[in-house]
């Protein structure tokens, strides 16, 4: 493909192009997903748009057992972002698979179930339970940004070894073909190293980024603003970090499909991730601001792709790399 110029004749534009995307063995008609934890179980967002018209609903990370989550306050607004400390509140995998998944499926939504665990074993058990539901679940996203109870609470995503163990265990639990995505934390020295470990352990692809570890101190009470003391930073504030992470991983592992996320508020932002190498994108915090963000962003992305003369989404994936001789270093 040759260099794309901004089309000067928007009137002549086709209005729709092929948005279909493939993430390894997972094929989706649309590239925009909800981000885990930002769409509840899907029901609430369905008041605002048709869930079957986006790529998939990624559900809130579910654990083996019911979880109360953390005490309140659980949030703080930050400049162009927010901090959350929910603590993975949820009904446990059994109730979730029995109540939420059938409803979503009835709505025609493609479902990606996000799972979490306090131990490698819990991940495996939860994945197996999800897999038992069969084709109603399109894929599993593995939220490895959880503390490993048996290793001083260190987050699985923070070391290649622990990340790899989780992915490997899930892979064995779901069988060789089923699409699984490891969701990476940006709070690491070398995200490519973790990405590689996950892929080597059997991940179909990667989802990135999870929130950044952050903190707000309330200058009225002089105490940390969220009960969990630290929390996860999300929203447009972190977008440059997410785009960088996707760019780096796509550079190193160009064949590995990536679900990009972090601060996507508009079609332009989604386009940035696609250009960096994402095959699909997830919309998280934006839905708090604009409940129909996912579908709006998908439409805006469509228009931008048309505007830039792309014939399909696939053509644009990683296009930023092809425009650049690589000479990455930093100040």
């Amino acid at each position: 493909m040759t260099f794309k110029v901004i089309s000067k004749h928007p009137a002549e534009e086709k209005s729709n192009i092929d948005l279909h995307t493939s993430l390894g063995s997972l094929s989706l008609p649309y590239p925009v997903l909800t981000a885990s934890g930002c769409a509840g179980s899907g029901k609430e967002l369905s008041n605002f748009f048709d869930l079957s018209k986006i790529g998939a609903v990624v559900t809130k990370s579910i654990m083996a057992n019911p979880r109360s989550g953390r005490a309140t306050p659980r949030m703080a607004e930050t400049p162009s972002g927010m901090l959350n400390s929910i603590g993975l509140q949820g009904p446990g995998v059994e109730a979730f698979m029995n109540d939420d998944v059938p409803w979503l499926s009835k709505m025609g939504a493609r479902i990606i179930v996000s799972i979490a665990g306090n131990s490698v074993e819990e991940f495996g058990r939860t994945a197996a339970r999800v897999r038992r539901a069969g084709a109603v679940v399109s894929a599993i996203e593995i939220n490895i940004s959880c503390p490993n109870v048996s290793n001083r609470g260190l987050v699985f995503a923070c070391a290649p070894q622990s990340a790899s163990e989780v992915v490997n265990t899930v892979r064995r639990a779901v069988g060789p073909q089923f699409p699984i995505f490891a969701k990476l934390s940006p709070d690491v020295t070398d995200i490519v190293e973790i990405a590689r470990a996950c892929v080597d352990a059997g991940a179909t692809g990667l989802a990135m980024i999870n929130t950044l570890l952050g903190m707000v101190i309330d200058t009225k009470t002089l105490k940390p603003k969220v009960a969990g003391i630290t929390g996860g930073l999300s929203g447009p504030a972190i977008r440059p970090v997410g785009v960088r992470a996707v760019w780096q991983v796509h550079s190193a592992l160009p064949k590995v499909p990536i679900i990009g996320m972090g601060g996507i508020m508009s079609g332009e932002d989604a386009f940035e991730y696609v250009l960096a190498g994402a095959s699909a994108v997830s919309v998280g915090t934006a839905s708090f601001h604009d409940p129909s963000a996912a579908i709006r962003i998908q439409n805006e992305l469509n228009h931008l792709l048309v505007h830039h003369g792309f014939d399909s989404l696939k053509e644009a994936i990683g296009f930023g790399h092809r425009q650049t001789e690589e000479k990455e270093d930093r100040s």
Binding site: G40, M75, F288
Partner: protein, 288 residues
Amino acid sequence: MKASIPTPLQVRGEVISLKRVGDYFQLSIAAPGIAERMKPGQFVALAVGGQRSSMLLRRAFSIYTADPRGVFGGTVEIVFAVQGGGTKWLSQLQAHSPVDVVGPLGTPFPIPAVPVKALLVGGGYGAAPLFSLADLLRTRGCRVEMILGAATGARLFGVVEGRRAASQLILVTEDASLGLSGKVTDHLDAVVERSGTELIYACGPMGMLKAISFYAKTKGIPAQCLVEEEMACGIGVCMTCVLPIRGEDGLTRMTRACVSGPSFDGESVLWDSIGTIPAGTYGSEASS
């Protein structure tokens, strides 16, 4: 007492008017569709700060009045106090400014199936949602009394409106600048005793709601309390707005105020445990 919950809309509204009322601002917004489906006790969530705002989250406000047949189409009114950047921005809006509104949100106040003697208690701007409730209760044959309290007279909202909406209105201010002196809870028992109150609705600061709940419990009167929990989404998808609520099955769950509330039966709220995960809560370490 369960009411059906209207589907929320997202609407690009337009400011009709903004005026100061005591220490508060009263903002009227043309937001077609929202007024039409709103029920008392619901709220709207407004985007703040304009197009390139650094403030990402919507701000929640109880609906004060809803007029489906306003001159500019369906109109909702809110009453707010300036707290931080979001409310400051709202306080500087001008007629015709666009405002992005999501609503109506939350579960409406439950309405008794039979006519009862109801007492509505509002603290400060917490009075806002009580007037449309009073109107609805009266159409159902209820007798409605109202207590409005605040620190000062300037923070007492809805005095004129209250006289219209309630058969009796009691005013209470801490500085005694208007009505009785003290806190609403200082005068609650006298009113309840005198009126034979059968049901209380309350909206205001947490401390007030808690005191009213405890009082109502000792009297065996149900009290519906509208709480203000910090909300990131207002539509039920983020899980930030939870508080410990004891269900009919006796189990305590961390329950979303934005969808299951914002009003709860006072007896079901574990007031003393707000800000903690009480032992035995569904899914807490202790319970599993």
